[in-house]
Symmetry: C2
Subunit: 156 residues, 2 copies
């Protein structure tokens, strides 16, 4: 209650992190490019303890994750029930999804491209660590409202 | 029109990038920590061609940006008029704001902490590059709705 440094920050349990990650589909991917951090929004999906996203072949992003690259993905949102914000960070290794079987399996996932255009490459992030926090947004903090629920509901 | 790779992606002009950056207050900061990328949401403000944010002293984040650190910040959103999404990436150098005068000047900015708790350190990011894109979100892409406008309007 009187924890001076951050009274209203709770760490999320591991299973809560994954539950939160499943509630949104947009995250931000941090990679190293030429020795400096770079960052991209990605449209990801959770697949058996990993994150998968699509990207266009030949992009910087594909290059950055072409080998086995250390990456971090952050996703966040606001719980509509409690009004509490959450943020989850997945750190791990990104690798291109290469085998035909694996691509086919992956493409069955409900994985929409983040933007229109050819998206030929699948990248899978295998986590080394998954951490998350829940916290009260300081009023009049501006944040985002998640439209995932309504978008899914209105898919006709 | 028939650009095969990404038909609906437009690069933003420099001034458009800054205009977009001013429309939101939450971004994601990518830093290098122990040689690996890490990523944090930050509540930033635009200040004279730089970005400024607050963070708690002694955090990983402060450590990561304690010296002159190469960082990247990404912000994104959806233009409510056009329905087009945008994403802007600022790459540059982060440095603690140290002088009393500079801190005082900075704290006059409309800069709310991202979460409740003590936020003692100001960090300024001086850009090396600012790039942005505007693109059509692929239906039924899920994205965020920005509540900045309504939050500001209902501040009573």
């Amino acid at each position: 209650m009187s924890n001076e440094s951050s009274p209203q920050v709770q760490n999320l349990e591991h299973h809560e992190c994954w539950a939160m990650l499943r509630t949104v589909s947009v995250g931000r991917l941090a990679v190293l490019a030429d020795g400096r951090p770079d960052i991209f929004p990605v449209n990801y999906t959770v697949d058996g303890g990993t994150l998968v996203f699509r990207t266009a072949q030949g992009t910087k992003l594909a290059a950055a994750t072409g080998g086995e690259a250390a990456v971090a993905v952050e996703a966040d949102g606001v719980d509509p029930d409690t009004g509490l914000a959450w943020s989850v960070v997945v750190k791990g290794t990104a690798a291109l999804v290469k085998s035909t079987e694996e691509v086919l399996e992956t493409s069955r996932l409900y994985l929409f491209p983040w933007q229109a255009g050819r998206k030929d490459t699948f990248v899978r992030i295998t986590p080394d660590s998954v951490t998350g926090r829940r916290f009260k947004v300081t009023d009049p903090m501006t944040w985002w409202t998640q439209i995932n629920g309504s978008a899914k509901a209105s898919q006709e």
